[in-house]
Subunit: 315 residues, 2 copies
């Protein structure tokens, strides 16, 4: 696995998993923020995301409550990015018997806090024991489209504006500060890294406002924007002027170069990136940060950029 | 965690997770084989189950394809045990970068084989890297009730008959034989341990036939029957005569004591245990193995038995 990137692996695994062919119950299959099922006449959105101790969090930096709140939030952001309203969570905990009970109860509190704030109860899950050193939490989130069509990554059209709801670069900056032992330099950024608060309610709002594409920013602005670009067959061109405020917010703490890297490549922000027809304007809570042009990939001020951000297998 | 049993832990965690209260979208919450959501007017069934390398399987005994087939089957059995028809799977793979690519592709093949045979495609998932030594696969399965009411654990009534669809004790026997290095003594039992084939289609059949309760046998007949007994407020009384064929099937290979233990306590069989009103008879594919009596717990021929089987934390 060490020689294979995440995208490359998915390109090998998808054809095997989907060889069974289509089903009348599936509206949207693998490859978007979430799947969409046409069950009982409704549009059900389903997505899953796992976090791993020692890889996705460190105990020195995050409490159990932080971990629970974050894994719930990142799954709910995927639901929102389809234009859906969260309805329920499943939680799976795989842990060595030496795991502290207090940590587990803290985790549950963090999950419950986010579930309550999103009106999205935990309805089930699984508990598995594991060899020493293993501690993973995986969440599956469900949402309903309430009669809306799903907003996919593939619908961005040339001439659309690109807009974001939520912060940019704070989580990545928080991670850098924790790594550097300088958490006190920007408590807000560190808090966003520990417990992102995606603007969940704005997912359905964007859908109602005619969003042509939407994705949640989990792996970095450039990388996630490049996914929209690839799925839609367009170029996403970001404006450095529109991002200047985000960079400026972090510059005093990190310097301009690192601030820019956090805004363009920092992961785990879980803000919503959407495209809208230019004539319609963008709904409240979104701000325009670029445009959709003919071409491919991502650019800043018209100059192509390498998509960068987080790849789980670093290939 | 080592001092706390699974049921005890769940009793602590549930109240925290469900403190957020009820939601109009949730028909059945935690505690049954699966949750039921009323999304878009339909009854959606959702469940999740994880397997862990070194705990739930060993590479000497199971290929990647076996693991994929088994984790899919055990989730689909939970869907069937609600009386639902499977419609889709999500798959999460958490693995160290040193994991062999071939193993991952084998896993995908096993998942795909079961998904195809159940007409239940994989519609998404998550891929996470993990520290060395970690390899877990978790699956979330969805089903639709197609207008049926869900069959819960809590509906068994005094006077009902208790019936099973599928084998008893084979998976447990297969595990013993693998542990003893005697796999060749009973290839069928070993095959059931590696790849159980739950009678998925009989879940909706049982619901249509008026099943009052249903559960899939994941942790042993006595333990799972005791869950039905506790949820329904009854005693599940099994008949040793009705189980004699199951014990006899394994006796030549294991001896009578171990054969009986496998039938009563062996896990991972994923057969369906249901109760039906006595007057109605049981549908094809089910055979009667006991009755529902007033009282509590589980019994064999009227004599109380300790529920035994698998507890993930052995508390």
């Amino acid at each position: 696995m060490a020689d294979v990137g995440e995208d490359e692996l998915l390109a090998m695994v998808f054809p095997i998993l989907t060889a069974a062919g289509e089903s009348g119950d599936v509206t949207v299959g693998p490859g978007d923020d979430a799947a969409v099922l046409a069950v009982g006449g409704g549009g059900l959105v389903a997505t899953t995301d796992a976090v791993v101790h020692g890889r996705d969090w460190r105990d020195e930096w995050s409490t159990g409550e932080d971990v629970g709140a974050k894994v719930a939030a990142q799954n709910l952001a995927d639901v929102a990015a389809m234009g859906a309203r969260p309805v329920a969570l499943l939680v799976t905990l795989v842990m060595a018997p030496s795991t502290e009970l207090d940590w587990v109860l803290d985790l549950a509190r963090g999950l419950a806090t986010v579930a309550a704030s999103a009106a999205c109860p935990v309805v089930g899950g699984d508990l598995s024991s594991a060899p020493e050193g293993v501690l993973t939490v995986s969440v599956t989130a469900f949402g309903t489209l309430d009669g809306r069509r799903a907003v996919l990554r593939s619908g961005a059209e040339v001439g659309d504006v690109v807009a974001v709801a939520g912060s940019l670069g704070l989580s990545g900056a928080g991670l850098r500060l924790l790594s550097d032992g300088r958490a006190e330099a920007d408590p807000e950024a560190v808090a966003v890294h520990r417990r992102p608060t995606p603007p969940l309610a704005l997912g359905p709002v964007a859908a109602d406002a005619g969003a042509t594409s939407m994705i949640d920013l989990s792996d970095g602005l450039l990388r996630d924007a490049s996914r929209v670009a690839a799925a839609s067959g367009v170029c996403v061109d970001l404006s450095s002027a529109a991002l200047a405020g985000d960079v400026g917010r972090l510059e005093p703490v990190l310097g301009v170069e690192a601030a820019r890297e956090c805004v363009l490549g920092g992961g785990e922000e879980h803000s919503l990136l959407a495209s809208f027809p230019a004539r319609a304007g963008v709904p409240g809570g979104f701000r325009v940060i670029g445009t959709v042009r003919a071409g491919q990939g991502v650019a800043v001020d018209g100059i192509p950029e390498q998509p960068r951000g987080w790849d789980h297998f670093g290939g």
